[in-house]
Symmetry: C2
Subunit: 390 residues, 2 copies
């Protein structure tokens, strides 16, 4: 796996269909010997050698230490997604602060940071990010040319079928209805992807090996400031005709409380607790056990409705309940939704999806943001397609 021609910056990376297939197989099945890759992908061994060489030069894959031997003959050397070939950045904005992660091509988090950010202006956001990245390049050797791009997760839906122009919640009013991709790319010199926060979370949940290995399609809920959904169909993020697939917040009428993190906080406050932010939740669980119980019961009934309809339409392999809530809360929610659904699905011979809780927690959104470039360039069919509207 030598080093020949100079490698172009990753921001211009474009893989062929076959190359993408190899990468995707490795991502799903983990380190694999070339023979088995060839077999599984129905690609000639010679072709496969060339493919792995190319991907090696690009820094996308590397050879793993050989397996302990079991048979005679030349031993297999598994190849795997490379850990240090390049990076992707994810960012998202919260009320009053911003979050940032850098991941490698395996999807592992190399660096994470969150800092106060009161200003709404997206240009200031981009400049702050840029600063941070330059500092990181100096401190830890994250070379600029090796960044695939930046994914930004935004809490808001697409307007006019344009994924880059969104109607956003009030605390980031300056982000409303402007061409976010262009604005951010104007400041940062790397490709930018804009994604809905729940959709990003869905991508992150899907990229967990235990999910990806088992399923091709999943449904994800993310309970945070509101409640959102995301949907992976045939291993790809499903956008919908106007880029608003998964906007399940709409399913819960505005005049009733929604099953969201904010709503749990409000419920706790009403019960006399001091709950200002999601970070407080963990600490209140013991003292306000009953309030949590009641809320979980109500929220799970609401979620079960949305799960039920989502499953009927999409027939996913799994449903993941994710969000900025304590893990035990998510787990209880998942269990109760599961119970509700089992009742609804009873007497039905077809396979039904597992309903499970996320283990990523609130990190799902920003991680998913970082995975967006990765997924688009290295994973899904299109590449380039998802970044530009129409």
């Amino acid at each position: 796996m030598g080093r020949g021609m100079p490698v172009p910056p990753h921001s211009q990376l474009q893989l062929s269909d076959t190359q993408r297939r190899v990468v995707q197989h490795l991502r799903i099945h983990g380190p694999t010997a070339r023979v088995h890759l060839a077999q599984a992908l129905d690609i000639n061994a010679a072709t496969l050698t060339r493919l792995t060489q190319q991907l090696g030069v690009l820094g996308l894959i590397e050879e793993n230490p050989a397996n302990p031997l079991t048979v005679r003959g030349r031993p297999t050397i598994p190849v795997a997604i490379a850990g240090h070939g390049g990076w992707s950045v994810g960012a998202t904005i919260h009320p009053g602060w911003m979050e940032l992660v850098v991941i490698d091509f395996r999807g592992e988090i190399l660096f994470e940071d969150s800092r106060p950010f009161a200003q709404g202006d997206p240009k200031v956001f981009a400049r702050t990010l840029d600063e941070r990245l330059r500092a990181l390049a100096a401190e830890r050797g994250f070379m600029r040319g090796r960044f695939l791009g930046l994914g930004v997760a935004v809490a808001g839906y697409a307007i006019g079928g344009d994924r880059n122009r969104r109607s956003v919640v009030d605390w980031i009013a300056p982000w409303n209805d402007i061409p976010l991709q262009d604005v951010l790319e104007g400041v940062l010199d790397m490709p930018v992807w804009i994604e809905n926060d729940a959709a990003a979370a869905a991508l992150a949940e899907y990229y967990r090996p235990e999910i990806m290995r088992r399923h091709r399609s999943i449904l994800v809920f993310f309970l945070g400031h509101g409640v959102g959904g995301g949907l992976i169909a045939e291993r790809d993020l499903f956008a919908g005709e106007f880029h608003n697939a998964g906007e399940v917040g709409r399913l819960f009428p505005g005049d009733m409380p929604r099953p969201s993190g904010i709503d749990l906080l409000a419920t706790l406050r009403k019960a006399g607790a001091r709950a200002d932010s999601m970070a407080d939740l963990e600490g209140l669980m013991e003292s306000h056990h009953g309030v949590f119980e009641a809320w979980i019961e109500r929220a799970s009934a609401q979620l079960a409705m949305a799960v039920h309809s989502g499953v009927a339409w999409l027939d996913p392999g799994a449903v993941v309940i994710s969000g900025a809530l304590p893990k035990t809360v998510l787990a209880q929610l998942a269990a109760q939704v599961d119970a509700h659904c089992n009742r609804l699905f009873s007497g039905y011979q077809a396979p039904v999806p597992r309903i499970c809780a996320s283990s990523l927690g609130s990190k799902a959104v920003v991680l998913g943001a970082a995975l967006t470039p990765l997924h688009d360039v290295l994973g899904s069919r299109g590449g380039e397609s998802a970044r530009h509207s129409i």
Copy 2:
């Protein structure tokens, strides 16, 4: 567009990616001159000439009569999907009778037939079909080698994630949980596709030019014996992880009346009308106007719920209400569902889907069955992929 080498039977037809792109463009945009095709598909004019030659030899496309001229120079000759290059068969089974259509590559119905069929046995079904096709070959020159395949629409959901093994309604009990594709292919010597009836209907609705030209994703309801749904995502039939996407019958609890054709019949009978089959509906519309009105009101409220959730999850470009009901009934249903949904979607800046009634009526299912082979071989990405369960 000459004729050179002997052409292989269509049952083994396999198009390259580029060939498929050309065919798909023609299907969506109608007859198109080669210059414009080359431009739209970003394919070199020389390459395009070669592609159209190949597709011409295969009998897939043909030259249309030239357009009236507007400018100097050699006039453009539009090419179009050929009408007589080959055929596809669709079949479906109803309580007591079966339905059959033969379509050409444009999707036009060349022949349709329905005949009593009391027996449940799928082998007898296949033999009856085979007989009928042989007779047609003799009478009307439908040569066997020019059949792409047979699509069979079945009212039942897939068991165990196998699209060819289904849990079916009681009046075709012998079809239950057997490998339908194998059984039918054992009798008929052509490739067989098995599809859910509502999914087939969705395909048929999608292939109407006014839909296909405008949208990439749609949601379809089919009201017949029960209620079913089908879903086109990114111009492809979406199957779900276990091949049961669109099973929206589940959304309506079993102990309540569902918004189906059967339910309308039952409602009419309860009101004293003599309504034995869907064919009677048309005649009762005047005499039982009030009953229809009331039913439509109730059914549209039920449907609106399912539409609402489907739209929230999938964000389709359009929703089509189809079924074995009189057109005016479907139209009224669509209008009322639309009204309901507009209420639910109000205050939302994103584009919302049109909700419209089908003009295909009960024919949608069998037509969609016939389109299944066409779609899989000539249209969607895979080709071959959808016919075999993983």
